[in-house]
Symmetry: C2
Subunit: 205 residues, 2 copies
DNA sequence: GTCTATATTCCGATAGAC
DNA sequence: GTCTATCGGAATATAGAC
């Protein structure tokens, strides 16, 4: 009884430590020793629980990858009006990136270096239903409710503005001369500004 | 005479090889053997010319980092009208990223993992004159020529939409189901669409 | 300058005591 | 399950012949 509890706690501590180290250093830059130190246990125990570095990495990758497309399906499949979906999308994304700021660089870095394995790991067999978003945009255009735009370009515009600032954070802090607190305020402001700008660009005069 | 020529060519081949390998694999993922193979020479020669892996990396990083802020100073310092600057900025950035698509992930990845050393390496002591852009935007707002916006948010909006698609390429190709040719067309289209959208969002009714 | 061979360091993985 | 000690391979770096 007590033993099981301790084991579980060790395993959980390893997972938390591995997540932190892999996210910040990447697969190649991470050391098993770093993870062991972070978890407060011995290197050998990592292998006891997860057999190899690759296995441990895969476990972490699968676990965090799903947060990179947070609730996208849910949002796209909801019956909400387009502008509501855009607002919710931005809010959801920016909030998720605030909680896991290393995530985009980690996922896209590994996806670029290992494109073949990436696809299956992140998406399994289910892709997010982009076509639903595309169809809705086309419908609104046909109805004359918004200006004619390329739906996919629009989606990438939104995604770019929500995610990129977190990836460019060190550059941004230096070039613009802002500190961490100001960065947080800057990001918080974007939750409103990004959807406002997108929606403004879609509206007819 | 001949010797010098051969030496120079070896050194140049090493630099080209190192650039390719470091950009695609990062510092941690790159192997000296990979670089030697790519350059068609022996591992020992890398150390003869550049002493260590770190030194070689630093050489490459300094050389490519400047392309990450392509002609930004030049554009900001030009006397052009704001909308012209925005168009030129987008055109310049997207063109640069087309030529070196690995660059943003490489620079921002290394910048995140090694923030302390990054700043000096990329910028030296000279930051791009963001304040000029900010001042010009504020001036246009005061004159009533554009809607009131936060200049820095605007700048990040533009930068995000120009750079992010290249970083998200593998995801984009899979989720949207497009191939390399279609991606190129998609990107080419953005050279027009991004400044159009930005400018549209700035115009008063 | 360029190579082969080797030294050195580092790191993932395992063996075995407790 | 957890530890210490160690193995074995891989990667950086150097020595030395040509």
């Amino acid at each position: 009884m007590v033993k099981v509890k301790i084991d579980e706690r060790a395993e959980q501590r390893i997972l938390a430590a591995a997540k932190k180290i892999f996210l910040s250093k990447g697969l190649d830059g991470a050391r098993m020793q770093d993870i062991a130190d972070e978890a407060g246990i011995n290197k050998a125990l990592l292998h006891y629980y997860f057999r190899s570095k690759d296995k441990l990495f895969e476990t972490i990758f699968m676990e965090v990858a799903k947060h990179f497309l947070p609730r996208v399906s849910e949002i796209f499949e909801s019956g909400k009006p387009l502008f509501d979906k855009i607002e919710l999308f931005c809010e959801t994304y920016i909030q998720q990136m605030k909680e896991t700021p290393y995530l985009p660089l980690f996922i896209l870095g590994e996806a670029t270096r290992r494109p073949e394995t990436f696809v299956k790991k992140v998406f399994g067999n289910r892709k997010p239903p982009v076509h639903l978003f595309v169809a809705q945009v086309q419908q609104e255009i046909k109805s004359g409710n918004i200006k004619p735009v390329h739906p996919l370009q629009l989606l990438i515009d939104i995604l770019s503005m929500c995610v990129f600032p977190f990836m460019a954070r060190p550059m941004l802090e230096h070039v613009a001369g802002i500190n961490k607190k100001q960065f947080d305020a800057f990001i918080e402001e974007r939750k409103k500004l990004v959807p406002e700008m997108i929606i403004a660009s879609l509206k007819n005069n």
